[in-house]
Symmetry: C2
């Protein structure tokens, strides 16, 4: 037991690896857009700015907490902008920033790929499932 064990080495690798992941833009982006609600919010906002409650209604199934959380992180990343109108009652509008609009283009590309290949994937799945009862 004098030298490093396999477990120790693997843990060390994991630590370095985690650091690598966190610093990797691609993974950061993937983490972001893969969030359950992000794509939906971005999609909803492509048609124009919306109020908080409008978003909640359009996305229909999101809890207030998650909607707020999603919007906050998107705002922090400069994907959406938040505009408060201090009327009574308060009015808050969300819209895509230029960066957000740009992101929606990427999302559109992903969407296109998905729709183009989903059939292949489904066939592969059916085949795979049929072979292993």
């Amino acid at each position: 037991m004098a030298t490093t064990t396999a477990a120790q080495r693997r843990e060390q690798a994991r630590i370095e690896y985690d650091a690598f992941i966190k610093g990797c833009p691609t993974n950061q982006l993937l983490d972001r857009i893969s969030d359950k609600w992000v794509s939906l919010v971005v999609c909803a906002l492509t048609t124009g700015s919306m109020r908080y409650s409008d978003l909640a209604r359009k996305i229909a199934g999101v809890s207030p907490k998650m909607l707020t959380q999603t919007l906050r992180s998107l705002e922090r990343d400069g994907i959406v902008s938040r505009k408060v109108t201090p009327s009574v009652p308060v009015r808050v509008d969300y819209a895509l920033t230029p960066l957000g609009t740009n992101l929606s283009c990427l999302l559109a590309a992903v969407k296109d790929w998905a729709e183009l290949h989903i059939e292949q994937v489904n066939k592969a799945r059916a085949l795979y499932d049929a072979e292993s009862p």
Copy 2:
């Protein structure tokens, strides 16, 4: 309490919504590629086929369980192929299928976008964090 409460209506919406999500190719794809290990496995395999242990070594930080799980689901989706050579000891090679290669192109596009815009995102974050202590 005779009529439906807001909570009930939202839950109903959530159910319909979940069904919608599951049927939506885009979200299926996003779920898949956003998996922590999927992008790494696909990336590792772009250079050619690899053995199980080679993948484990290259990805360095993945547990056998997660690696197997990831490979299985990718195999099921027709993204990777699995070839067993019944020698002693057993040899198993994984490789990208044509569909997998195609997917790696999309992943490359995502990567390009990420690297192109990560700076903007980071600036936005710094700004946001600076404003709210």
